[in-house]
């Protein structure tokens, strides 16, 4: 029996126009990924400056230069509908790699910020 669970992985951006890449490992009892979502402690910076690549099990789901704004949702979206659906993705080796790039934008001056990747997963019940 699979049950839904949400995971969160953070990266910190400390310099303007920098790239940060980090792999995250899912728990062994997680079997499927249903969707992803990105947020930040500085939403405006993520919205205007961010692009990212997301790989699951070494397969690219969102390529480099994919804008973060396309994976964000605002308060107008119901909380249970906020994830970007990926279908039922088998986790394979269980590694999610997030490669985030910050790019200057005239509307938002840089300050250090945190980017959070939320993953909507299905976990196998404990035996």
């Amino acid at each position: 029996m699979l049950q839904p669970i949400k995971k969160r992985f953070d990266i910190q951006i400390n310099a303007a126009n920098s790239s940060v890449s980090k792999p995250f490992e899912l728990d062994k009892n997680i079997k499927l990924i249903k969707g992803v979502l990105v947020t930040s402690d500085k939403d405006d910076l993520l919205y205007y400056r961010g692009t990212q690549k997301i790989e699951i099990n070494n397969k690219e789901y969102f390529p480099e230069n994919y804008e973060s704004k396309l994976l964000m949702t605002g308060l107008n979206v119901a909380p249970n509908l906020r994830y970007y659906p990926l279908g039922d993705v088998l986790i394979g080796n269980g590694i999610i790699k997030l490669s985030y790039t910050d790019t200057d934008d005239s509307r938002t001056p840089f300050v250090p910020y945190r980017v959070a990747l939320y993953v909507d997963c299905m976990m196998e019940d404990e035996l």
């Binding site: 205007y48 789901y61 949702t73 509908l81």
Partner: protein, 153 residues
Amino acid sequence: MIDRQVIITPLKIIKAGQVKHFQIKLPQTAKKIVGVELGGHFISELITTPTASEFTRFKANTLIGDLKLQSCERANIFYAGQLQVDNNLDFADFTKSAFIKIKPFTHQSKQFEDTISVDANSTIIQGIYKDAIGKQTGTDLSYLLKIYLWYKQ
């Protein structure tokens, strides 16, 4: 198995009224084009349009530019879209106040591509983008436009 992939084509616009022709090469594994999405960011400062004080007044959106995509096969021109700034995000929203500003990064809806269905037999997609905001404002605004072409394999 991932059956949907996206090709991102960035275009840099630097002049008012600039017209840009470009090509998007489809991979051999592509079977069908299923969606188009537009995005981008400003490199030079965007001149903000004055907003009406009455929040129940509908405001015209700011047109950034027009895009057309053409397949070399039967579909011919299969996508015509506009890149624009939504100036009505706060329309009739009573939560708006002097302290709570409604911005796209706080109140935007979910972003999805425009669904289309065109076979991917044409290995090259031709595109044309025409700048509109530079023409309207009479200034050379520079921005990076991104075209997301989703396909099934």
